[in-house]
Symmetry: C2
Subunit: 206 residues, 2 copies
Amino acid sequence: MNTKLPPRTVERLSKYRRLLDKYKDLEEAHIYSHKLAALLNLTPEQVRRDLMLIGLTGNHRKGYNIKALIGQIGTTIDRQEGHRVALVGIGNLGKAVLGFIRKANTKMDIVAAFDIDRNKVNTQVAGVACYDIGAAAQIISREQIRIAILTVPPEAAVNTATLLLESGIRGILNFTSVHLDVPPGIYLKDYDIITSLEEIGFFIMD
Amino acid sequence: MNTKLPPRTVERLSKYRRLLDKYKDLEEAHIYSHKLAALLNLTPEQVRRDLMLIGLTGNHRKGYNIKALIGQIGTTIDRQEGHRVALVGIGNLGKAVLGFIRKANTKMDIVAAFDIDRNKVNTQVAGVACYDIGAAAQIISREQIRIAILTVPPEAAVNTATLLLESGIRGILNFTSVHLDVPPGIYLKDYDIITSLEEIGFFIMD
């Protein structure tokens, strides 16, 4: 494990693995860096540099061994025992994200959901136990949860994030589009739909 | 309009604006580049460079005029008449994204939704007309839609994207986590929840 890898490298390693996942049962399958690069709109140099950082070099005649590549990316970026994740805010977006993750092949395990709605608290949502947000500190500690997905309404974003961080959460995937100020040592990733659309809009203008 | 701006710059300009949007009704309000930088975990140099690219320089004593900044970002990245957007795939994720965008203050206007489910076709979803995906070419042309948000199931992703591009779509926001191969001139933006979670997981490991 090398926490010195830049965030963009980790992001790309995760993407290489997801792209190659469908080949994981093959023996001796190889892929060239330029093929992998083309699939992700990267340069072959970028791909080779990323893989070099995790100790992989390609074979000149065949490229990279896919099985070894998937294995080495896993060794580098996965936590052996997976990650225990909480989903906070079980509205439409929360439910959609939950369904999406549970269908994906990932070591991310959603083990608790939180909401303030009495109709949701103490039920199961897609197989996940839903708790009152007031119990967050207790459940997060008991379940050893360190990552939270924040899908609460914007007006609740800041207070909920503060509560989560006080409860021991160390990484937040923020869907609220509200700016969160987090202390050093906390890893925050914003997922801003509007920003993405505006970027697309800009680049397709004549 | 300057399409020579790098994607990351456009993304940051969109973020500056969203962050400062709450101040837009104030007169004479200013902000320093280092304050704006701190809010987004950027360096002040980065902020100044981005704003310089769109012709803005800060005042040494007061920083940047927020009203002018918001206005200039709009002039640079917005299309005057907004963008007409289609939502393709009205499952949980599609509905959540639709609700999210309709609540946001943006020039992105979702004017049509598509699905294959007969129970959804020819209804309104959150005020948006829903059509059969088979009518995509006709509706996209008639409604002058150029951006599509793809929230179909993974197994439908590639075929649906192909159909959309044949129908005149030029930008896709892809939520499916399936890799899409798009021709030059098409702007594709992937929104990959699992990759984001894996990145967070990596950086919070001890």
